[in-house]
Symmetry: C2
């Protein structure tokens, strides 16, 4: 009989367009050490891979452990990922990432098994296992940040479809004549409800003479605005920002209703930076709008919840992915 492995920890990595997060997790999915480095995507693929490696080693060191105690590494990457091959097929926000053998490269550098999946699928897996205790069979995850990402759990497993691109909910058109999206179409979900869209509407309003506390807080050009600033403004009674956020919550509610109608999940979980900062302000409007719009019967018993994992959903899900593969 083989001796039980002493490598009882797993590392989860969230590879983003601007930053890389890594966390080392025990068997209960408690994070016992984390690290963060900027991605420096413009420096190209080789640099980013070595920065991922450094971030992983930093997280392990942070927990006073070493790589021999790590059974495996999971990575969530922003784009289409072929899980079986361990390659990133393409990643629009990472310069030059096309058919990159991330698994193979990192395994060479780290000497442990590496597993790669799409970041939104990974995040919803993290929420599913660590927050929902893997109970619901079908889950839709909606992550609202710079853009809007989506991840699906179908029959208890992450689902990515034929081209490994399922869950690209950010480019679901919900307003055919709406504002132009970065992708070239009009009225995509993320052109209406992402942080980028919110900030654009606020800046356009200020230009048109709308009064807001944000200009007192950040100056007239609203530099370095963050989602948390909006929360502060709303709590101090800022009517303009309240209106923009309520409108955004309605858009998200319609997105939720579309996804419930199509996918039929048991739980819809909302996460990402915007939700982390503003869920108290948005959740009741999101839920009401979704229930008003969904077809009769589709919403019965369906839970719409804000994730408590926040920015850690990605690294947690990546850890779950690694743990499932190595055990």
């Amino acid at each position: 009989m083989p001796e039980p492995s002493k490598a009882e920890y797993v590392v989860g990595v969230d590879l983003g367009g601007t930053k890389i997060l890594a966390g080392i997790f025990n068997t209960s999915y408690d994070s016992i050490g984390t690290a963060k480095v900027s991605t420096k995507a413009q420096r190209g693929v080789v640099t980013v891979i070595s920065r991922i490696e450094r971030c992983i080693r930093d997280a392990v060191d942070e927990a006073d452990l070493n790589m021999k105690q790590v059974a495996g590494v999971g990575i969530g990457a922003p784009g289409a990922v072929d899980f079986g091959a361990g390659t990133v097929i393409f990643a629009p926000n990472l310069t030059g990432w096309k058919d990159v053998s991330l698994k193979k490269e990192l395994e060479k550098q780290l000497g442990v098994p590496v597993f790669v999946e799409n970041d939104a699928n990974i995040a919803v897996l993290g929420v599913h296992v660590a927050e929902l205790k893997a109970k619901p069979k079908h889950v839709v995850g909606i992550f609202v940040g710079t853009g809007i990402g989506g991840g699906l759990i179908i029959n208890g497993e992450p689902y990515s479809g034929f081209n490994h691109t399922a869950g690209e909910i950010g480019h679901m058109v919900i307003d055919i004549n709406g504002p132009k999206c970065g992708c070239g179409n009009r009225g995509c979900f993320e052109a209406l409800a992402s942080r980028t869209a919110i900030f654009q509407r606020i800046k356009a309003g200020v230009k048109d003479g709308e009064k807001t506390l944000l200009t007192d807080m950040l100056g007239p050009s609203l530099e370095d605005m963050r989602s948390g600033d909006l929360r502060k403004a709303i709590r101090r009674g800022d009517k303009f920002v309240s209106k923009i956020i309520e409108q955004t919550a309605e858009y998200i509610g319609i997105g939720v209703s579309n996804l419930v109608n199509i996918v039929g999940p048991e739980v819809v979980v909302l996460g990402g930076g915007v939700m982390e900062a503003l869920s108290d302000e948005m959740m009741s409007v999101i839920t009401k709008t979704a229930k008003d719009h969904a077809m009769p019967g589709t919403m019965k018993g369906v839970e719409i919840v804000a994730s408590k994992l926040g920015d850690n959903a990605g690294i947690t899900g990546a850890a779950v992915l690694a743990r499932r593969q190595v055990k």
Copy 2:
């Protein structure tokens, strides 16, 4: 060893709001006898169930067979269906249908096993097995008729989600400020691209003074207009109808793109009465619009096809359902 069953045929039933279709099928899914009766939904549940029974017996008789040669019956019903329980949970187009034990009732009357599923799921199953030879793993079916229904094949199996309502694509909002839908919302897919929506746009245009051959063909009030009339008008050079149908094809293309982004299918199959009449006129615009709108990578290798089964998709799928359960 038990003697092999002599009941080698199965019956498929398509229960619609206005008509009931039944077909008896051999093991190769060739239809060897069909029957059709009107639903008479307004007469209530008991009447409709006895009409289903009569339609089944008529189809069996049409093929010079008897019920002893039937191994099972499959039924596609328009609404939310609990396959396991064999009940129709609700069916908006059938008066009084709420928690109806259709399986149990019909088994009592027919003496053979009965299986019930949602009609759009059944139709996509029919196309998947009889037309696509069950090859693609993930399929989205879009059925454009009076309304728009959708059915999903995920990992090779019909998928209906938590509340048995997945695939309610007709009420996906794609134009938040668009025309009012029967469901109360604005800009649902079926408020833009169903036969009902097409006819409304044509009638509104005629009221506004648009010239069309349809008024010569059907009289000024366009009574008894059918999808086939639109095809005839277009082939005779009717510019107004061409424009309406092109616009409708663009809406359908955007619906396809949304569904490809979200579900990630290998094949999108379009069926229903409108597609049966107008697929030659619409398919190239649908495909182009879908490819223009979908995210890079999501459409790679994805086929968008018009079903050749037409109105028989429902009874064929119901036969497949029955066959899979009894064999």
